[in-house]
């Protein structure tokens, strides 16, 4: 005999409440900021961009426990990737005239370019993740730091493509407080879905494998051959009322033809 199930809506809201509450707070806060002076809006936009950075980092670090120093490299890849496709051709032909032809003549809508840049950075992240995730713990952290250095050095050195250490000017400015807010909400949704989905739970299990609760000694102990365990017998409750209830239940079960639990 089980309690009646909760209606589906209430369960769904309860499940998504962590995300929903934060999103509502964020939207209200940004709506208030958008009424303020331009300086406040810039600060709020900057805060939202940093939120995107941190939540993106959390998707990896929070679920796997590995400190990733390489997160900034993906920002670099995404930024320059977007710049190659975003900057109006009239700027590119003057400032960055050594770009290859298919980039020098490219100019697309910033929204599409953002998606393309996400794909560009994501592809590199996936590719470098394959070897790096064979490492664990601090080795993986060093690996990500090495990746960061590699990406930084390549971008800083390849002057024809990136302008080297001087800046790549001319990108269209389209991120105001509302665009940043949409990006922040999107990232929060992705992080939440990842965390509660099967992929995220698998990540949580990896975390337990890499950092087992008993320490690495626990892992060594677990590697020893195990004796077959006996099924533990539950302790018999002592109060007469409880015992009486169990006897009655056992009797009813035997009457119905089932084995005594």
């Amino acid at each position: 005999m089980t309690r009646p199930r909760l209606p589906g809506v209430e369960e769904a809201v309860r499940g998504i409440w962590p995300l929903l509450s934060l999103a509502v707070i964020l939207v209200v806060l940004m709506a208030l900021c958008s009424l303020g002076p331009v300086v406040l809006q810039r600060v709020a936009t900057d805060a939202l961009i940093k939120l995107v950075m941190v939540v993106g980092l959390y998707v990896f670090v929070g679920n796997s426990g590995v400190l990733s120093f390489g997160h900034a490299s993906f920002m670099m890849l995404g930024g320059y990737g977007a710049a190659w496709l975003d900057v109006p051709v009239r700027y590119k032909s003057i400032l960055m005239d050594e770009l290859p032809a298919f980039l020098g003549k490219a100019e697309f809508h910033p929204g599409l370019v953002a998606l393309a840049a996400m794909g560009w950075a994501g592809a590199f992240a996936f590719l470098i993740g394959i070897p790096l995730m064979r490492l664990s713990g601090i080795g993986a952290a060093i690996g990500t730091f090495s990746w960061l250095t590699i990406v930084f050095v390549v971008h800083a050195g390849w002057e024809e493509m990136t302008g080297g250490t001087s800046s790549f000017n001319g990108l269209p400015i389209y991120v105001d407080i509302w665009v940043a807010l949409i990006a922040a909400l999107f990232v929060m949704l992705v992080a939440y879905v990842f965390q509660t989905s099967k992929l995220g739970l698998a990540g949580a299990m990896m975390l337990i494998l890499i950092f087992p609760p008993g320490g690495t000694h626990g892992r060594a102990r677990a590697a020893l051959p195990r004796l077959p365990r006996q099924r533990a017998r539950r302790a018999i409750p002592l109060t007469p009322g409880e015992r009486g209830k169990r006897v009655k239940r056992a009797g009813r079960a035997m009457d119905a033809g089932r084995r005594e639990p």
Binding site: L67, P131, L132, R134, L135, S136, I138, G139, I142, G143, F145, S146, W147, T149, I150, V153, V154, A156, G157, T216, A220, A223, L224
Partner: protein
């Protein structure tokens, strides 16, 4: 042939500097499992103290600067690291970042963020000239002093009472305390040794580079940290070898890469680091602690 000798000496001297940094970080890592990013700042402060004190008498500046760095190391251990000694590794890491940033910006406040030029021990810049070979005296000095320090450290760790206690503490801290090793004293000695290493590194970095800036320690600390990890966490020999590995690879790449690829030298160095980690995730040398005992 002459270029080969010069490249080898160059590689050894760069490797020695990185090895000293890695040793300074590895000593504390082995005992406390704390990654001391503030070690770079110890080096930076040592260099600035050289500049502040030099006056006319250079050996005095060296002695006073090293004493000050050791005092700073002990002070930071007492104030910043002792309260978090038993906290999680992440807390200790964040504490060391905090100390590092604090010291950096303290010196930005005092001296300004612009790099300052500083000539020290100018005589070391001249080379030994034998035939066609010109070896800067500085490189020879670095290699020689590093060898002396390594031998001295090895003797200290194997022969002296404190050294043996430190090795015991690095192996199993709790057991060592149960056997009578004083934790405070051992950790203080470790920090003092790391301060001495930082002071020596500061001298060589100053003579080699000629400029001081508050951010000069960050790059060194990062390389020292990477060297410690690829050498094997908790192993001092590994830290030294990791430092030499990175130094030798960097100089060989600088010498061997084609001209267009030279700006990307660091990328190749760190690609080599990734390959080493993939080949031996525990590092080149596994410390005594990492060996599984079943």
């Amino acid at each position: 042939m002459t270029t080969a000798i010069q490249v080898i000496i160059d590689a050894l001297s760069v490797g020695s500097l990185y090895a000293l940094m890695a040793l300074g970080i590895g000593l504390i890592l082995g005992i406390m499992r704390l990654i001391n990013f503030a070690h770079g700042e110890f080096v930076m402060i040592g260099a600035y103290m050289l500049m502040a004190i030099v006056a006319q008498y250079e050996p005095l500046a060296i002695i006073v600067s090293m004493v000050l760095v050791v005092v700073l190391a002990l002070f930071s251990e007492r104030i910043a690291f002792r309260p978090v000694r038993n906290a999680s590794p992440t807390t200790m890491l964040v504490t060391s970042f905090a100390v590092s940033y604090f010291l950096q910006y303290l010196f930005v406040m005092i001296y300004g963020a612009r790099p300052k030029g500083f000539e020290f021990l100018v005589g070391l810049a001249e080379p030994f000239v034998t035939g066609a070979i010109r070896i800067p005296k500085l490189n020879v000095a670095i290699v020689a002093v590093t060898i002396v320090l390594l031998v001295g450290l090895a003797l200290f760790l194997t022969r002296s009472r404190f050294g043996v206690q430190m090795r015991a503490a690095a192996l199993n801290f709790r057991m060592a305390r149960l056997l009578g090793v004083r934790a405070d004293r051992v950790i203080a000695v470790a920090f003092a040794l790391s301060g001495i290493l930082a002071g020596v590194t500061a001298i060589f970095i100053t003579v080699q580079g000629g400029t001081l800036s508050p951010g000069m320690g960050v790059q060194l600390a990062l390389i020292g940290f990477v060297a410690t990890i690829i050498g094997g966490m908790g192993s001092l020999i590994g830290a030294v070898l990791g430092g030499y590995f990175i130094g030798v690879v960097a100089v060989l790449l600088q010498f061997g890469l084609p001209l267009e690829m030279r700006p990307y030298r660091e990328a190749f160095v760190f690609a080599a680091v990734i390959l080493v980690l993939l080949a031996r995730p525990q590092g080149l040398f596994r410390g005594a602690k990492a060996r599984e005992r079943v």
